[in-house]
């Protein structure tokens, strides 16, 4: 199931299930959690809306103002999980899944949102697959991981490269530096070991990735992190980015006012955001709730 979160006509966030260009939602469950929405939609699809006792709302996907499919509780990032990125950053491949950084939850934003370029910052993109935890997850095996996931979506691990490496947290946490979307895909609809995506800036291809070539699989990352830290619904794990980031190019390429970054996956859709200078943007364009 593909799940979007959007603003209803009365301005409240609600979940909806995407089928082609159409979104079905359950107005009676407008305040539902993601888990209860997915469960109710499955009942609805299995029984038919009349038997499930729920009204349906239907809207064109293009007509909706999409929000990030999840407002993350916390965002944990794997810094180096693609061998070509390890090489371009002169890093070392980690022996175990490694949470090299975290992004503060204030950094999330939605598909389609403008992202402010802080004055004087060297802003870079990193296309990634984001894993969203669906329920309490602690000390589980890799085989149990799928049952603990709400789903997967695309993410842009936007980074300010001028920030010293002792302060990676700060360089990755500016408001808007963690766009997520456009929708969440439940794990039963995905082969986690065979996902792919590309990253383009103003239409120019910059990154190409497939999870068939990552160092640590998505399941091993989740199980590895949950070995030492209890994870909860709404936690987001960024699973790494391949080669092709701007800062490692010759010469280094930073994002400029008006640049559009598109991350496109046959399985996870297209996450698109425009970057705008601080003087042009609203002060805090993120977190529409």
């Amino acid at each position: 199931m593909r799940v979007v979160r959007f603003l209803t006509t009365d301005g409240r966030p609600a979940f909806g299930a995407v089928d082609d260009d159409e979104v079905t939602w359950l107005p009676q469950l407008a305040d539902a959690t993601l888990e209860s929405f997915v469960s109710s939609m499955r009942d609805d699809q299995r029984l038919g809306s009349t038997d499930a006792g729920l009204d349906r709302g239907v809207a064109a996907l293009a007509s909706l103002q999409l929000l990030s499919p999840i407002a993350p509780r916390q965002v944990i990032g794997v810094g180096t999980n693609y061998r070509d990125h390890v090489a371009e950053m002169s890093a070392t491949a980690p022996a175990v899944p490694t949470a090299n950084f975290a992004k503060l939850p204030i950094s999330w934003t939605s598909h389609g949102a403008d992202i402010e370029l802080p004055a004087g910052a060297f802003v870079d993109y990193e296309g990634e697959i984001a894993v969203v935890i669906g329920r309490p997850t602690f000390q589980i095996t890799e085989a149990q991981v799928d049952g603990h996931l709400a789903g997967l979506c695309l993410a842009n691990d936007v980074s300010a490269r001028e920030v010293p490496t002792t302060q990676l947290l700060l360089g990755k946490s500016h408001p808007g530096f963690c766009p997520l979307g456009p929708f969440l895909v439940t794990p039963d609809d995905l082969d986690l070991d065979d996902l792919s995506y590309t990253v383009a800036v103003n239409g120019e291809l910059r990154q190409t990735a497939t999870t068939t070539s990552i160092i640590h699989s998505i399941r091993s990352i989740v199980a590895g992190f949950a070995r030492s830290l209890p994870l909860h619904a709404g936690d987001v794990i960024l699973t790494g980015s391949p080669a092709g980031v701007g800062v490692a190019r010759h010469p280094p390429l930073e994002l400029h006012d008006g640049d559009v970054v598109e991350i496109t996956s046959p399985q996870l859709g297209t996450l698109r955001n425009r970057f705008v200078s601080a003087s042009r943007s609203d002060k805090y364009p993120t977190s529409p709730e």
Partner: protein, 234 residues
């Protein structure tokens, strides 16, 4: 009081902010940036200090600290925590502006799982109950400063740490100017301003065990007493 919703509060701690402390560097975590980054990096007021996140889940005002059953290397240090009263950033702010944005001081414990590899800085610092914090808070403007503010940590009555704020590389306000360059700091956000020499990782002290009594004290704030409890395997 603390708010429970993690999205309402940031918890950031800094490491190596006391002149006698080089903990992070000793772990080997020194991130040497590749050469192509050196011309891009913009120096700040406290680049020698590490800024690391802690999960809000780790905050507690209960007087107990859970020792995960699998963890045999649990470490603790005392830290002066500051709680923001006013929003500030993102952007360049002065030390005076940062000073005025701080509302209160609290005692905090900086608990770290040394069994978790140092690269996993977030995982090592975010276990539930691993950021104990005092319920009592004092207006920041009423706090003693510099050498007049002593911090001390004892475990089972034995002194492990004794230092004062004069030994800090960067003051709380200076640290906040650095954070505010990148992000907006909001009322209620917490900054742990580092821990001095004397933690178990420095050598000479034991890792925490179930039954240990930890007493942290900071001039002006009194004492925070915490008891270590073994957490049974789930």
């Amino acid at each position: 009081m603390l708010v429970a919703d993690p999205t309402d509060r940031l918890v950031i701690c800094v490491e190596d902010n006391y002149r006698d402390q080089q903990t992070v560097r000793k772990t080997g975590l020194a991130l040497n940036p590749p050469a192509f980054l050196s011309s891009i990096i913009r120096p700040g007021p406290c680049d020698d200090v590490w800024f690391l996140p802690r999960a809000t889940d780790s905050l507690t005002m209960e007087h107990r600290l859970l020792k995960p059953s699998a963890c045999q290397r649990l470490d603790v240090g005392v830290s002066l925590a500051v709680e923001m009263a006013l929003p500030i950033g993102p952007g360049e702010v002065s030390v005076d502006e940062a000073e005025r944005a701080i509302g209160w001081a609290r005692i905090a414990l900086d608990v770290v799982r040394r069994d978790v590899p140092p690269e996993q800085a977030f995982l090592a610092r975010s276990y539930p109950t691993h950021t104990p914090i005092s319920e009592h808070r004092l207006l920041w403007s009423d706090m003693p400063t510099g050498a007049d503010c002593t911090l001390q940590l004892t475990v089972n009555g034995r002194i492990r740490q004794r230092s004062n704020l004069e030994a800090q590389r960067a003051s709380a306000a200076t640290l906040i100017t650095q954070i505010a360059r990148s992000i907006r700091v909001s009322p209620g956000d917490l900054l742990l301003t580092g821990t001095p020499h004397g933690i178990a990782f420095d050598g000479g002290e034991q890792w925490l065990e179930a039954g240990d009594e930890i007493v942290a004290s900071i001039d002006g704030l009194g004492q925070l007493t915490i008891y270590v409890e073994e957490e049974l395997p789930k």
